[in-house]
């Protein structure tokens, strides 16, 4: 019986222009979203690649100069010396022998690699820089981490597959189901159909199945095409695990909207009333609640302005400069091994820089910690209030699955901070000991290797959103059950 009705419904649907219009729009939207998502990811990769290769080029040139210098020293038999920092080209050992110059004047660009599905959900990755310059002496707190993008485009947001699934898919689903029962009742055919040996529940389930099957087949099919077209690392199982999760959350989210349409149909009245109610529900769940949550989160836990942080950093810098002797002494007190022989204390401005950077970083760290803490509180509030809206749960879930979540970025920042210490320590030590760099040393510079998060961490972070969606779906799907019995079959 189910099959018979479902088949009939599918045939009937296939003859309406509305279905074809909706499917065409869906195909077009997902294709466009995949195209723009792919462009966004390759833009980031290009930025990361260009930045890294420029800096590597600088170091290669320095290395070549030291190699030439080494050969010259070998030929003439002089000592292999350390160059002091200067900016104009001239005589003497090249800058490449000075670890301070290499560590501070070239940057090591470290990158957060995109996941296989990065193009499907852009998240914040159009704002946050996925590649960071690491240099000696400059703390991460003061490193600009903003991608270069037109603010008008950032305001509009990305037209990515996540947008299609979260915003547009519900509209298409509701357009196909808002009059699931009411239209038949209005035409008077519902009573006729129910005169046959079929229950209302069966009829509704079959009608629903026909619609759900069409929409979901198309969405998962298009999702697969999108991954094949603009996904990365298609040969790794992780990408396909992520895609499986993508399918699961998308199905649950879509089912929620189908269930909501059924709920309104059971308790609603005319088709146009149903339409109004469902459009209103979409508006509240997808537009109003998310913006309200964001408003509340930023009002209750306002992140201290970066402007304050800037002024405080400057305050610390001025103080450090004014007390150069003091900070130099403090620095040498902590690093006895670097105290130079004789009275030549302040070697040059790099040593001073290194010393004052230390002071500034110390002065800034409580402020930066507060900054980070507030951000964490804000994040926490969003995490807790996501259950108010399926759209928010879905956005967080899709960002997590695509590897564009704030948590993954935070983890990257922590790895970056660790690497900065490593980079800084390596060059600072060689510099302060005035130990000249040799060409061979260039191979032993600290190298950043991104440590991917274990997949279990991804699952753990996905769990709240996914279970929230599931519970919401169950709730909405079960509520209409008692109402079915009381459904007015004939129009009043």
């Amino acid at each position: 019986m189910y099959r018979l009705i479902a088949m009939h419904e599918t045939r009937a649907l296939a003859r309406t222009w509305a279905l074809w219009a909706i499917l065409a729009l869906l195909v077009f939207a997902i294709a466009f979203a995949a195209w723009s998502g792919g462009r966004s990811v390759s833009r980031q990769l290009k930025g990361a690649g260009d930045a890294a290769s420029y800096e590597v080029g600088l170091r290669d040139r320095m290395r070549q100069e030291t190699a030439e210098y080494e050969a010259k020293v070998k030929a003439t038999g002089g000592p292999y010396e350390f160059a002091t920092v200067r900016h104009a080209p001239g005589q003497g050992p090249p800058q490449g022998t000075n670890a301070g110059a290499v560590g501070a004047e070239t940057a090591a660009y470290i990158a957060l690699p995109p996941t296989g599905l990065a193009a499907l959900s852009i998240g914040q990755s159009d704002i946050q820089l996925d590649y960071l310059p690491i240099t000696m002496g400059k703390s991460l707190a003061m490193t600009a981490n903003a991608e270069l993008e037109n603010p008008v485009n950032l305001l509009a947001g990305s037209f990515d597959v996540a947008f299609v699934v979260i915003f547009l898919l519900p509209i298409f689903i509701l357009a196909m189901t808002y009059d699931l029962l009411s239209s038949e009742r209005e035409r008077g055919t519902l009573a006729m159909v129910l005169a046959h040996p079929v229950s209302l529940r069966k009829l509704m389930a079959s009608k629903l199945m026909a619609r759900a099957a069409i929409i979901l087949l198309v969405v998962t099919g298009l999702g697969l095409v999108a991954v094949l077209a603009v996904g990365n690392y298609l040969e790794t199982p992780e990408t396909w695990l992520r895609f499986a999760l993508w399918i699961i959350v998308t199905l649950v989210y879509s089912m929620f909207w189908f269930a909501l349409a059924v709920l309104v149909n059971i308790y609603g009245q005319s088709s146009s009333t149903n339409g109004t109610i469902l459009a209103g529900a979409w508006l509240i769940l997808v537009v109003i609640i998310p913006t309200l949550i964001s408003l509340v989160a930023t009002t209750i836990y306002p992140v201290p302005s970066r402007m304050d942080l800037t002024v405080a950093a400057r305050e610390a810098q001025t103080a450090a400069e004014k007390n150069m002797d003091k900070s130099l002494n403090a620095f040498y007190a902590e690093h006895l091994e670097y105290v130079p022989a004789g009275d030549q204390r302040a070697m040059d401005f790099m040593t001073l820089g290194q010393a004052s950077a230390n002071t500034i970083e110390k002065a800034l760290s409580p402020l930066y910690a507060e900054f980070q803490a507030r951000r964490g509180q804000q994040q926490g509030l969003v995490q807790r209030s996501q259950y108010l809206s399926p759209a928010v749960m879905m956005q967080l879930a899709l960002n997590e699955i695509s590897g564009t979540s704030s948590e993954r970025y935070e983890d990257f920042l922590q790895q970056a901070a660790k690497f900065r210490t490593e980079w800084n320590d390596y060059f600072a030590e060689r510099f302060l000991r005035q130990d000249p760099l040799r060409p061979a040393d260039y191979d032993s510079f600290p190298a950043f290797r991104y440590q991917p998060e274990p997949f279990s961490v991804v699952l753990k972070r996905l769990a709240p959103s996914l279970s929230g969606l599931l519970i919401l779906l169950l709730g909405v799907a079960l509520v209409p059950l008692p109402g079915i019995r009381r459904y007015q079959v004939a129009a009043r």
Partner: protein, 480 residues
């Protein structure tokens, strides 16, 4: 006659349960948004003023040092906002608030609020402008989609027409009734917003506040009018109220949600702009190889020869100015050409993207309105660009003043090693650099940039009215 129809329509709408709910929701949201916007704006302005004041003092009290070193220490520009930003925050969240102005380097504005908020912020910001741009049209649609289609379904339209009422008066009457109902919801909130501004003691950035508010009101009224007449047109054309609702809601989603993103994505492809990494790499490489292929050190060598010839000296230490400072200023000018080219290219790409998106307003009335609203509120890209330009002019003047002072004051140090013996200046010298002041673009400039958007909005209004007229003229009176 029109008045009678309008009154009947108004009463009917206001007594409908739909009105109560939607109106209550709208008013509540508008008030929340305005209050939150006001709170955020006041705290931003307080922070900005404090930060700018502090950094101005820091510049003066940075301690005695060489003027060029002082230029390296530099200064910060923090962006102030106009009072209307509380209503329309525009691109503010996505633009840098801070520019570091230092010797040798032009910097981008950094520290945008969006970089420090969670991803949920990307659902949009609930502010007055967002509510009027996105929710108000939906209110119009919800209240008006049954205007003709509903009466046709219940059969009353035939009766009405049999009483000798012209179709035109019916249209104007319904438009007036529907319009009054919408205004009844929106107007109180707008008045409250105006009172907020009147009460403010914040510094007024940007002149012509009254004109700006008046123009904003006109633009939003036109926008509401577009949806009002479109709703009536579709309601007259459609066979049933539910078709009317579907078509209208579809158009609303298209113009308010789909088009802004679509326009942005297409404009990025038409006017590509470089990512940060590529921009920096290209600019640094260009700077190192020289603007037109002559490296800076070679240019400086040429410049030295030129100066020595000009002043007929055989050694730089005989020059009548401090050579090191003049040389540094020359380097500054050489670099400036590279900065101008690269930063200029990004600015041009962004401006191209913005104009392209505005032109797509022919497909979606939300686009021109959004631009007009941001422009008048002083929160659009043009103002951001002006802020960055002002900061850059300040930077160039600051560096030039410091190098210039050094070149005159340190003549006696020519030829002396600058590492061991250099001129030290104090606060009085640093004071020749006046504090940074942002001068927002004049209202006339804003209007000149946006006249096309006004034209597109007017085109939409006229088109909507024509469609409504055609709609009622060809309207069927009975269900088929």
């Amino acid at each position: 006659m029109i008045r009678i129809i309008a009154r009947k329509e108004f009463t009917e709408i206001v007594r409908d349960g739909r009105f109560m709910w939607t109106a209550a929701l709208m008013v509540l949201l508008l008030l929340t948004a305005m209050l939150a916007g006001w709170q955020r704006h006041s705290s931003y302005m307080a922070t900005q003023a404090a930060a700018q004041g502090a950094t101005n003092t820091q510049w003066l009290k940075q301690g005695d040092k060489n003027p060029h070193t002082a230029a390296h220490y530099g200064n910060y520009a923090f962006k102030p906002l106009g009072p209307l930003a509380f209503f329309d925050n525009g691109v503010t969240n996505y633009t840098g608030t801070t520019v570091f102005m230092e010797a040798h380097k032009q910097n981008f504005a950094i520290a945008s609020p969006a970089a420090d908020t969670s991803a949920i912020g990307r659902f949009g910001e609930l502010n007055g402008a967002m509510i009027l741009q996105v929710l108000m049209p939906l209110l119009v649609i919800f209240l008006g989609f049954t205007a003709f289609a509903g009466e046709r379904e219940s059969g009353t339209i035939r009766q009405v027409m049999s009483m000798g009422i012209s179709r035109l008066s019916l249209l104007w009457g319904k438009a007036l009734g529907l319009g009054s109902a919408v205004l009844m919801v929106v107007l109180p909130c707008v008045i409250i917003g105006a009172v907020f501004i009147a009460m403010t003691d914040l510094p007024m950035v940007g002149e012509g506040l009254a004109t700006r508010i008046a123009l904003l009101t006109v633009a939003y009224l036109a926008y509401a009018g577009i949806f009002l007449f479109l709703t009536l047109a579709v309601s007259a054309w459609s066979r049933s109220p539910r078709t009317a609702l579907m078509v209208l809601v579809g158009f609303w989603a298209f113009t308010a949600f789909i088009m802004p993103k679509t326009a942005a994505e297409i404009s990025k492809a038409v006017y590509p702009s470089p990512p940060y990494g590529s921009f920096m790499a290209d600019m640094k490489a260009h700077r190192a190889r020289g603007f037109d292929g002559t490296p800076p050190w070679a240019e400086l060598g040429k410049f030295q020869g030129q100066m020595m010839r000009e002043y007929r000296v055989s050694d730089v230490k005989d020059l009548p100015f401090y050579w090191t400072a003049v040389r540094m200023q020359r380097l500054e000018e050489l670099d400036q050409r590279v900065f101008d080219q690269h930063f200029g290219a990004v600015t041009a790409a962004y401006a191209g993207q913005r104009r392209f998106q505005d032109r797509l307003g022919l497909l979606a009335p939300t686009l021109p309105l959004r631009s007009i609203s941001m422009g008048l509120a002083g929160t659009d890209l043009i103002q951001q660009q002006k802020f960055q330009d002002d900061a850059e002019s300040f930077r160039e003047a600051m560096v030039e003043k410091m190098n210039g002072y050094l070149s005159r004051a340190a003549v006696s140090l020519n030829g002396v090693s600058s590492a061991s013996n250099y001129l030290v200046a104090n606060e009085d010298v640093f004071a020749i650099v006046p504090p940074f002041r942002y001068q927002p673009p004049a209202l006339a400039t804003t209007l000149a940039e946006h006249w096309m958007n006004f034209a597109v909005l007017a085109f939409w209004l006229v088109a909507a009215i024509l469609l409504a007229l055609l709609g009622v003229k060809g309207m069927a009176l009975e269900r088929d």
